[in-house]
Symmetry: D3
Subunit: 136 residues, 6 copies
């Protein structure tokens, strides 16, 4: 079993707000992230797949296919977007890094062919990242 | 003469649009950046000051003062903001990295005491940055 | 289960010496690190916590609380300090990166509230780091 | 149990080609990597070992020994080399990042003394890396 | 005057050899780089252009055009290539980082339209880079 | 004219103190850096030389010689040292990043042979660095 990880970057904006909370509670919990105009990040996405190495190609996954899937399922939908307004998963869920990692896992999980998805890591900034390995 | 550079990061969103252009022209020129919902970046700001080293402190500039000025003049105004809507310089100017570097220079230039401002560098992403050295 | 990691940096000095060893043995084993004047590093600390995502906040952990705990329990005690002389764990234990990761784990483990501590990673330099996941 | 990771870099060239495939199939599968003249990378190698911390030294592994083993077993053989032509593992196996990680594991596994090899990670570029944890 | 820099990466192989030198002299001067099989690097290219900011677009240069020129003039010719054998500038010149920076300058200088080329920086590794500002 | 830059890293400790100031003034000016036990950093040194490219070698400077000079003149003296106590320049001068860059310039300036020293850059942390270009 070998694990291969490919990175990609996308730029998006978001804000944090729970309509069930009062304005005060939203501000207390989310601080500057509660600004409804949104603010943004250069997100770094790391997708890790696992599988056996195909002895004929030396690959655990076709790198070009993996890149295409990441672009089609994630970057085309999220790059240069306001996550709360333009990405359906976040119409009613708060686009925290945690929820972003889960949403990206769900977009990718069934699309891979030879290898299986092992981990989705999302960096919101170089100082903060989230890992999701799927539900067991 | 010694040059000292301090980095800071802030997260903001923006979009590119010139109301004098047609929708088609805006889209052709600005591409994905023309999305009016905005998208965002983790901006990295590098501020370089120059001056003589004070023999008593060994400093060209008081680092704490420099940090305070950068926070008060730039980060407090721009971090977690939508630049087009919340930062006055960009109410009528397009918040490109070029214009952002110039605006930050203008905010900082007159605030430094011992040392003089030499350069403002702004990274929009790790792959793209702008330097401004002031007008001669 | 989601894993969230937050980074922080601190600068400290240390040296390696075992009083039960001869001077020759200390020098042979620890090399340049045996210099009793100490030398220093910009340590990078990565703290990983794990837990369920709270559906109301989208958070696995309150980021501000995590940051405060890291500062209060680790950075306030170790930043700009000589580890051997000023941090009690290292009065009689050698402040290697291994022992530093274990000491930081012990300082943090009982302080977290909603999420559980999963991993402490300490970079001594960009080329050398240690991971500790607690004792089972 | 503590995990210690040490990085090293080496520069090598390689190309991808399976003599059982037609020229068209090689080009379709391997794209630009099929160029027989070779192209190159600055590979980053991360070697992770695990073990108990020796209370007398504070080390899980003697860092100088680990560095020496990595140089003798891997870097001396692969740095500034054309992998397909000069490194025996790749005379008949394609030097993909996957196969490179496995080959490095096999070179290192039996050479460590106190600690055990846990993981070999190889970055081909900053955007692509492979992890191998050995066969179970 | 504003300076804008865009990065790109390419992977290539090369070796150093002067046919006018003896084998001993080549080896003494070029060391491991003299291996005729070649070895490789992930080169990072930084292209800096300078000019006035166009008030209508906020740009000193059309970023898409700059990217296209860098790909067409440099990356298409050098990425995944053996520089000595496949890039004409290096059929009779040694592909050192110095000569690579000069060759890239010459390829780009006349292709820019609004802005002027200011600097070409080439990183051979993260620890070694060359800057060229053109001939005066 | 071509500019070549080589990086190196060293780990050292230091503290800031001016014996002509009162304890209060030292603390106010230097903050945590005033701790007499010292604290440390992983310093990154960038040495830039300039010169014509030698057409026979393609080099502006012999890289191995440059590396040797940097090690002999700077790293052997400063790596794993307490700068205030073990490096003569800092017996009576405060080892700020500014003074460190000047001291390294003075150590290197007369040692280069073919190329001339252009700039010394010292990073104290990734967020703070100083450039010195010599006295005119």
């Amino acid at each position: 079993m070998v694990y291969l990880t490919r990175k990609a970057e996308f730029s998006a904006s978001h804000y944090y707000h729970n309509p069930e909370f009062s304005a005060e509670e939203n501000l207390r919990l989310f601080g500057k992230c509660n600004n409804a105009n949104g603010h943004g990040h250069n997100y770094t996405l790391e997708v890790t797949v696992k599988g056996e190495v195909d002895p004929r190609s030396g690959f655990v996954v076709d790198l070009k296919q993996l890149k295409d899937i990441m672009h089609r399922e994630v970057l085309d939908a999220m790059d240069h977007r306001f996550l709360n307004k333009e990405v359906p998963e976040f119409f009613s869920r708060i686009p925290t890094t945690e929820n972003l990692a889960i949403a990206i896992w769900q977009r990718l999980e069934t699309k891979l062919q030879r290898a299986r998805l092992h981990r989705v890591r999302v960096y919101e900034t170089p100082e903060l990242f989230v890992d999701f390995y799927g539900e067991d």
